[in-house]
């Protein structure tokens, strides 16, 4: 009889413990956010509006959209408004650039994040997104054929790397010359200004391109433009004429171009060829 009473007591205690611990856990529900837009791994131009939205359940008291590289500074881009159903959103008009994280010449995606909170908790799913250093006019001012169909269909290859004025040897950034010889972890410009053809021949020969020409050379792998720019050739026609190139635009992004001589006066004309 005593054993039975003891068991009954234990069951009652356990039930009470369960009630006071589990029930509040079930009733208290943090917001659950589903990331809807902008799309993952997108390059976003400045000077445009992008729709940022998410679905949120459990009555959020605040929904916001954030952007950053995972380090300070991290920016609140907008406070999202309730749309309908469980949808929250707002117009995102990015107007600044943050330097993406990098390590030994490898560059990483920054993040966008939808964040929601209520009295019971918070939830913050994220995607990989990158805000470009310029607007469309900036890029078309250098290459009139610069293509930008959407955030995921464009001529961008990699993120911009510069923050300060840069000197030869500056780490955690790179430029066109560095890229053309396979360097992505520091800036290369070992001359006080515009190099001579002889300077370029010596430099390129030391970096694995011993043959040069001051006229179009079949199967050229690196091209120098007379506005102090370099590009790698990425494809050739069957007779060796360069078709497309890829180059790092100063402190800006690594970008594809759809012809071998695409630049305006900013970078000038294809002048010297190396292989």
């Amino acid at each position: 009889m005593i054993v039975f009473k003891k068991n009954r007591m234990m069951i009652m205690v356990l039930t009470l413990v369960m009630f006071f611990n589990v029930v509040p856990m079930v009733l208290a529900a943090a917001p659950q956010v589903t990331y809807v837009s902008p799309p993952d791994q997108g390059f976003f131009l400045q000077g445009r509006n992008w729709w940022a939205s998410c679905n949120v359940t459990n009555n959020p008291t605040f929904v916001g959209f954030f952007y950053g590289n995972g380090q300070d500074p991290w920016h609140q881009e907008l406070q999202e408004n309730y749309q309908s159903g469980t949808t929250w959103g707002g117009n995102w008009a990015p107007n600044y650039w943050v330097k993406p994280q990098n390590n030994g010449g490898t560059w990483y995606w920054p993040y966008t994040c939808h964040y929601a909170e209520n009295g019971d908790g918070k939830h913050w799913p994220y995607r990989y997104s990158y805000v470009a250093l310029g607007n469309l006019n900036d890029y078309r001012g250098v290459d009139t054929g610069f293509t930008y169909n959407s955030e995921t269909s464009h001529d961008f290859i990699n993120v911009a790397t510069g923050t300060h004025a840069v000197a030869h040897g500056t780490p955690n950034t790179y430029n066109c010359l560095a890229y053309s010889v396979g360097i992505t972890d520091h800036w290369e410009w070992p001359w006080p200004g515009t190099p001579s053809y002889a300077d370029l021949q010596t430099y390129m020969s030391n970096h694995g391109f011993p043959t040069s020409s001051n006229s179009l050379m079949p199967w050229a792998k690196v091209i120098y433009y007379n506005g102090n720019h370099f590009a790698k050739v990425t494809s050739w026609d069957s007779s060796g004429i360069p078709l497309t190139i890829r180059s790092k635009w100063g402190t800006m992004e690594l970008i594809n171009s759809d012809s071998y001589n695409p630049f305006t006066s900013v970078y000038g004309q294809a002048t010297y060829y190396f292989k």
Binding site: Y108, H164, T234, M252, V266
Partner: protein
């Protein structure tokens, strides 16, 4: 075409045509022309685009795109909470004048990012944000050139502007380059007292001695405390050097060098102390 069957037939014909033409383009294979011996061995024929591409590029492409970072998910929430707490991360609390100027400089840069492959201080109007800080921040700048390689380049240009030390304009911000540059600056500071004294004596004997003038000018603003000593001793001939060094600093006017110089000393007493301390540290 009153009969709906005709519409259906027309639609089917159009669909067949579209499928055929689109399909034929999508799956078209462009064969490689007979490969000549001129084609470099590392190039492969792209049958979709009908051109040669580099094997290396195909391999490198993935490396060249931004990579997915591995990071602690909770970092984001810590950053968000920090924003919500401060309302802004751009707080100037506890920032030195140089740190504030660097942040301002960076913000200015972002308004006009550079496409150029090399930096020319003459093109950089924002550099004055740093140079206008003047002599008082020189020790902080020199320390940062040593400790912060990413900011070193622009700070080296700023120091050259502030000090007017005559050297080759080319700047190498690599570890080796920074070391060499700092050694060069230290050497200038080290020799400043003796160089000013010896050349001031030369000028006392021969006020038109251009070599003596140049020797002092090459020391830049580091000559100032020692020129002051020479003037205090009564050798005013040496002031002609300061007139030249100080042009960039708008220190002196051509009318009455001596009285302007005396005024400048009074105004820049603290700057002169900073320079004197830097020179003493270099000894």
């Amino acid at each position: 075409m009153q009969n709906p069957k005709h519409y259906l037939v027309l639609l089917l014909v159009m669909l067949t045509f579209l499928t055929f033409t689109m399909g034929s383009n999508a799956f078209a294979i462009i064969p490689e022309p007979t490969r000549s011996s001129d084609v470099p061995a590392d190039l492969i024929w792209d049958t979709d685009r009908g051109c040669y591409i580099s094997q290396d590029f195909e391999k490198d492409l993935q490396k060249e795109e931004p990579q997915i970072p591995t990071f602690d998910y909770s970092v984001i929430i810590r950053l968000i909470e920090k924003i919500k707490l401060n309302n802004s991360l751009f707080t100037d609390i506890n920032k030195s004048p140089l740190e504030k100027a660097l942040a301002e400089y960076e913000a200015e840069y972002m308004k006009n990012p550079s496409f150029k492959a090399y930096y020319d201080p003459k093109d950089d109007h924002a550099l004055t944000i740093l140079t206008k800080l003047g002599v008082k921040v020189l020790p902080d700048m020199m320390e940062r050139i040593q400790s912060n390689p990413e900011q070193a380049g622009v700070l080296m240009y700023a120091v050259q502007e502030i000090t007017s030390v005559k050297r080759e304009q080319f700047i190498d911000a690599s570890n080796q380059g920074r070391k060499a540059w700092l050694n060069e600056m230290n050497a200038v500071m080290k020799k400043a007292p003796t160089t000013v004294h010896e050349n001031a004596l030369q000028l006392e004997n021969n006020p038109t001695d251009q070599t003596a003038v140049n020797n002092i000018i090459n020391l830049g603003i580091f000559a100032a405390p020692f020129v002051m000593d020479e003037v205090a001793k009564g050798n005013t001939q040496v002031l002609v050097c300061m007139d030249k060094i100080a042009v960039a600093h708008n220190i002196l006017t051509d009318k009455n060098i001596q009285s302007t110089w005396t005024d400048w000393i009074k105004i820049h007493e603290n700057d002169l102390k900073v320079l004197q301390n830097m020179v003493e540290d270099a000894q």
